[in-house]
């Protein structure tokens, strides 16, 4: 059995205790709500996209340490980046979680994307039940991104 230290890394607990970019953004910012039907956790992602750049992001909702820290780190990682870079980051993160969607696999340019602190969530893969916790914010981000770029 993998040890809890693989899961609850200090940086994860830090983001859990002190989540970054908590709050809401008023319209016209995009807003998506993600649900984890297994546990009832909910996450709100607010995304402000100006031109081609994610200029602001806020996260709301409730969840476990893994879903909350993942959301917090995600918010830091996407802010100020281009929409394409954010999409690449989502692919990279899901790849780390062993999730590859059809036609959404890693592309060559993704090699340059750095996950940084998010790599701390790598241990989640050893606890398959928790992968859904880690990816909840990212799936919600994808929805918010689709809304923001469809307008």
């Amino acid at each position: 059995m993998p040890g809890l230290e693989d899961l609850y890394r200090e940086i994860i607990l830090d983001h859990y205790r002190t989540p970054r970019n908590r709050g809401e953004l008023p319209p016209p910012a995009a807003h998506a709500v993600g649900h984890n039907p297994l546990c009832g956790d909910e996450i709100d992602v607010y995304l402000q996209v100006d031109g081609d750049t994610v200029t602001d992001v806020k996260v709301g909702g409730q969840g476990c340490s893994i879903s909350q820290s993942s959301a917090s780190m995600m918010s830091q990682a996407v802010k100020g980046h281009s929409v394409d870079e954010v999409r690449a980051l989502v692919r990279k993160f899901k790849g780390m979680m062993s999730i590859e969607e059809d036609g959404d696999g890693e592309v060559a340019s993704d090699a340059e994307i750095k996950l940084g602190d998010l790599e701390a969530l790598q241990g989640v893969v050893k606890f398959p039940v928790r992968i859904k916790c880690a990816t909840l914010a990212w799936n919600t981000l994808t929805e918010a991104l689709a809304e923001a770029t469809s307008a």
């Binding site: 609850y8 956790d41 409730q62 928790r130």
Partner: protein, 410 residues
């Protein structure tokens, strides 16, 4: 404790299993229960010696299998003191039993403007089928609220039931552990002219059940929560109601005649048992009922009241306000199922940490999201105790909670 738990545990092969050299502390029986050797052996023996189709073939083996299947129905009838064996329908589980009622009785008897009363402590299995029906035709759903202690608030019951056609409620909450006053609720339903539909899934495995003393109209429950196999559940309903209902699933076994221009349904219970039923599972359910009857359901209930008392005392003594136990504090009106919050640690994280000590409990919304919203939480941890648990399991849980605090620094 009223039961010899050490002797009982010896009869459960799975409870002998160790993970990482440590024994299991199985506290998830409200989810599903473990199986005694007698159930496993009965199913194996049946498959090795007597397995055959039921109700359709003339050879001796098939006759034996049919008898064994019908014996399981009679055992179930006795277990809940139903008037007639043919009033018991074998389903897939309690969920299917409740869906059968909503689909068949509901579609035949509920029309635009009719009222169905539910409670705010229902499992999704006793909510969603009614929502599904309400989305097809204009049916009003009313909800019995809860008190702060997690009991049904019956103050306005009569006005809620005024004009209602059905009152659907759980006999015991899978989240709060609350045991509801079933007879009183059935009486109130009947006084209003409503049919009383009881979700017995959590109650039947833990208590003496007497559907006639309840004066209920329908009762559903599952085998897998009462030491029997998964894959079989039970619907009991009054003969007159079942007779007047249209079939639920169509297929083999449920017909008297099929013609090019239509069909004639079979008599009860075959009318509601389309296709090959869970034959082996019925044999297992029979063995589970024998096992429970040997222990005595009154003894099981007493044992669980002892554990509930010990658990509440131990957890509150040790943790005080750091632990939030949902549901009633009085063991007379609760079973040994405890949903709780602990020091702001998310239930998922809590269960992950407890898993390191082989403590198996459920974290989540327990298929009762309306109740979760009422409690103001997304999720709870839930420890549920059964006849193979004792104070050692409570102690193991209590000790392990401290470990969770260490990790999260709370």
């Amino acid at each position: 404790m009223s039961l010899d738990v050490a002797a009982i545990r010896e009869q459960f092969p799975l409870l002998q299993r160790q993970i990482n050299g440590q024994p299991l502390v199985y506290l998830d029986s409200a989810n599903t229960s473990q199986k005694p050797r007698s159930v496993i052996d009965a199913m194996t023996r049946f498959m090795e010696t007597s397995y055959a189709p039921i109700n359709r073939s003339a050879y001796q083996l098939a006759a034996e299998a049919t008898d064994a299947y019908e014996d399981a129905r009679k055992a179930t009838q006795r277990f809940i003191n139903a008037p007639h064996a043919h009033e018991l329908i074998f389903t897939k589980n309690a969920t299917e039993a409740l869906n059968l009622v909503a689909y068949s009785w509901g579609r035949a008897n509920l029309h635009d403007g009719d009222v169905v009363v539910l409670t705010q402590m229902e499992h999704h299995a006793n909510i969603v089928p009614w929502h599904m029906l309400a989305s097809e035709r204009h049916i009003e759903l009313r909800w019995v609220p809860l008190t702060i202690d997690g009991l049904l608030d019956l103050t306005d019951l009569d006005s809620l039931l005024d004009g209602a056609k059905a009152f659907c409620f759980t006999a015991m909450s899978n989240v709060l552990g609350t045991i509801n006053p079933v007879r009183q609720l059935c009486d109130a339903a009947h006084k209003a002219g409503a049919v009383a539909i009881v979700d017995g899934c959590q109650y039947v495995p833990h208590n003496v059940t007497d559907v006639q003393a309840w004066d209920a109209d329908f009762v559903g429950f599952s085998s897998h929560k009462m030491c029997g196999p998964s894959g079989i559940g039970v619907l009991w309903g009054r003969e007159a109601l079942l007779d007047a209902m249209p079939p639920f699933l169509g297929g083999g076994n449920m017909i008297l005649d099929v013609r090019l221009d239509g069909f004639t349904p079979a008599e009860l219970p075959a009318k509601f048992e389309a296709g090959t039923p869970p034959i082996v599972e019925a044999i297992g359910l029979h063995a589970a009922i024998d096992f429970l009857e040997d222990l005595g359901m009154a003894n099981v209930r007493r044992h669980e009241m002892d554990i509930a008392t010990y658990a509440m005392t131990t957890l509150v003594d040790r943790y005080g306000d750091d632990i939030c136990l949902h549901g009633p504090g009085n063991v007379e009106v609760r079973g040994a199922t405890f949903s709780f919050g602990f020091r702001n640690i998310h239930p998922h994280d809590l269960s992950q940490v407890l898993d390191q000590r082989n403590i198996c409990l459920r974290a989540g919304h327990h298929c009762a999201k309306p109740l979760m919203r009422l409690l103001g939480v997304n999720a709870t941890a839930r420890a549920s105790f059964y006849l193979y648990n004792d104070e050692h399991d409570v102690d193991a849980l209590t000790d392990a909670l401290d470990g969770a605090s260490d990790i999260f620094g709370l």
